[in-house]
């Protein structure tokens, strides 16, 4: 893949050096047409032009065949389009009707495929034709000088300063200062108007509906969960706080509250918890059952790919990975804060309950997410 065309370009160059980047140098044009026996054709146009890449008659004949093959392919594909169109009738009662979704897919594939091949064949044939049969002229049309001359630049700055003096902007400080003063409030207005984006969140980002004594229900079935339901090692279930479905709340929890309160309950086998877990974190578990927020601390996807073997919790969006046996510590990925843990216990009847709110703010991390309240 070496290209020796440019090696002697600099030496042979006699023309102007200021050629536009991307266009061939004049020297190159000369070397490319090597051994051109036939006389060069001149291009009749407003700019000087000369022919490059002389194609011999043999080359042109070969290219003609190639282009013809492309056109034939395009022709056959065009015929194929009609075949594909008429092969599957629209009649829904027939055997091979396009009303059947499977047949419709094949029909679409065949129609689109043949049409694409036909158009591509015509384009490819025309490209071969243009590149290998038509004569090539190199036309040079120089650009005008772009930068302004020093005189023009100087006269503009003189004119600008003269006008500033004449208007009084430099000579009359009272005028200038009152004008600037009048602009200050307008400049501040956009900043002050930011207040309209709403009241400050307060503690809403850090408080959820979980509180001491709230029972848990299985997401989807609303069945209350007992600690004994998760007795088997490796058990897992997604849960919400128990919440009334009544006239006031016909759909139970609002979507917002679902996102904030949803937890994964995971039963970790005895002895699998890592020593890195603090005593407090261990107290927040019950009989090997640990509860984490299901919402990833990176950008809030549901991180729920729990692997019972490695105890990793994986978020499917950006592959943040948390260690369920180590307080959901981040072991990989863009999240940089553990999943919030929910302190849990059981009540007198054996139902799992929360023993307070999450250990930190749920969801995507913000500036003071880790600070307590």
């Amino acid at each position: 893949m070496t290209d020796n065309n440019d090696t002697n370009a600099s030496g042979a160059s006699g023309g102007p050096d200021d050629r536009v980047i991307g266009t061939p140098s004049s020297a190159e044009g000369e070397t490319i047409v090597s051994g051109a026996d036939e006389p060069r054709r001149e291009h009749a146009g407003p700019y000087p032009a000369e022919e490059t890449h002389k194609h011999s008659e043999e080359e042109q004949r070969r290219a003609e065949k190639t282009a013809a093959v492309w056109f034939l392919i395009a022709f056959l594909a065009g015929i194929g389009f009609f075949v594909a169109y008429f092969a599957w009738g629209p009649n829904a009662e027939g055997e091979q009707a396009i009303a059947d979704p499977q047949i419709a897919q094949y029909s679409n594939m065949a129609l689109g495929g043949t049409l694409a091949l036909a158009l591509f064949g015509i384009g490819a044939g025309m490209t071969v034709w243009a590149r290998r049969i038509m004569p090539h002229y190199e036309v040079s049309s120089p650009y005008d000088e772009l930068p302004s001359s020093p005189e023009e630049k100087g006269s503009f700055s003189e004119f600008f300063m003269k006008s500033a003096d004449e208007s009084g902007f430099t000579k009359r400080p009272l005028l200038r200062r009152t004008l600037l003063l009048s602009m200050v409030p307008l400049g501040l207005a956009p900043i002050v108007l930011l207040r309209d984006t709403g009241p400050l969140p307060g503690d809403k980002l850090k408080k959820t509906l979980w509180e001491d004594g709230t029972r848990m229900v299985v997401e989807g079935t609303n069945q209350l969960i007992k600690a004994s339901d998760l007795a088997e090692d490796g058990s897992m279930v997604t849960a919400f706080p128990e919440y009334p479905h009544n006239e006031e709340h016909p759909h139970g929890l609002s979507l917002n509250d679902q996102a904030k309160t949803v937890i994964m309950l995971i039963k970790i086998p005895e002895g699998d918890f890592k020593p890195g877990m603090s005593e407090q974190q261990m107290n927040w578990t019950h009989d090997g059952i640990i509860a984490y927020s299901k919402i990833c601390t990176h950008v809030g996807c549901p991180a729920a790919l729990y692997e019972r073997g490695s105890h990793r919790i994986l978020c499917p969006c950006h592959q943040s990975t948390f260690d369920a046996t180590d307080g959901a510590k981040v072991v990989f990925g863009p999240a940089h804060r553990p999943l919030p843990q929910l302190p849990i216990g059981v009540d007198d009847e054996g139902y799992l309950i929360a023993k307070g709110d999450f250990s930190s703010a749920v969801g995507p991390t913000f500036w003071d997410a880790e600070k307590g309240d």
Binding site: P24, T127, D229, V237, Y306, R308
Partner: protein
């Protein structure tokens, strides 16, 4: 050879050589590499005696255990360095692993894909009977959930096969129709399964080279067994947390997913949906268009 000599200095020649070499090595490796799973399955199928209808045969189950399971899981199922203790796995786990062809595994270090089972239905039943009698206890096979369709090769006569097939279909339809609320099943699927197995049931990647398999071929019984036993990295969803009726609804929903026509045609992209298909279409399509544009406008060389 003149043809090659003329073109070996072509700008694309290097790429062509690399592509050809990769193709030769790839295809050659695939052809030469011992396909151990297939070989083992064939050997086992050849060794096994003909299926017996009716009662289970514990001694045949013991034979299968000693021959195909004990080398890794131990004679009493206690496991070894490269295989887990399965004394508490239960008949449901045995049925799941063997009927999906994942066990016996030829490579204990890797997750096994679904493949054609090495044993016939009656052999699996015998193995489970032996396991439950002598090895261990755990979740039992959910016998009222329909499993695999009967295979012709397991039956002596065509009529017996037809009859078994009809019975199976009736059982299957009754089970799916028995689900009260498929929408509730969808909610359960989206809350508990979709993260790993994808909302289309096409499966997806996990960490450490593991993956969640596709659900496109799973029978209702296999789905049920996977939920109650938690094979591989999958957590357990036992009958207390998600009761059998809810599981039935969930399975009916998975069957709906399986029946969904594949919108991607030959280029399904794991049924990830139109947005992702569009993205791929744009990327690949634009690349091709740019390649065409480069080809059309490329400056010709003197020796072309």
């Amino acid at each position: 050879m003149k043809w090659i000599t003329a073109r070996r200095r072509h700008p694309l020649a290097g790429y062509v050589v690399v592509l050809l070499a990769l193709a030769v090595f790839g295809v050659g490796y695939a052809a030469l590499a011992p396909n151990a799973e297939r070989a083992e399955a064939q050997v086992l199928a050849a060794q096994s005696s003909g299926p017996e209808e009716g009662a289970v045969d514990v001694s045949e189950g013991r034979d299968i255990w000693n021959r195909s399971c004990a080398s890794c899981h131990g004679l009493n199922g206690g496991g070894s360095g490269n295989a887990p203790d399965i004394t508490t796995a239960g008949g449901a786990a045995i049925d799941f692993q063997v009927s999906t062809g994942r066990m016996p595994s030829s490579n204990p270090d890797a997750q096994m894909p679904r493949k054609y089972p090495a044993f016939s239905r009656s052999e699996i039943d015998n193995l489970i009977a032996f396991y439950e009698q002598e090895i261990g206890k755990g979740p039992a096979v959910p016998v009222d959930v329909p499993g695999d369709a009967p295979l012709r090769e397991d039956f002596e006569s065509e009529e017996a096969y037809e009859k078994a097939n009809e019975e199976y279909k009736a059982e299957y339809d009754a089970y799916i129709a028995g689900a009260d609320d498929v929408e509730a099943g969808m909610k359960l699927y989206l809350a508990n399964c979709a993260h790993c197995h994808s909302w289309s049931g096409a499966g997806g990647g996990l960490t450490g080279g593991h993956w969640a398999p596709e659900l496109t071929d799973a029978t209702p019984r296999q789905i049920y067994e996977a939920m109650v036993t938690g094979p591989g990295q999958m957590p357990v969803f036992n009958d207390l947390a998600i009761n059998p009726d809810d599981k039935q609804e969930l399975i009916a929903y998975v069957k709906d997913l399986q029946a969904e026509p594949d919108a991607g045609g030959p280029f399904a992209l794991n049924r990830v949906g139109q947005v992702a298909e569009g993205l791929i279409g744009w990327t690949v399509g634009l690349t091709l268009i740019i390649a065409c544009a480069i080809w059309i406008t490329a400056k010709q060389r003197a020796h072309d």
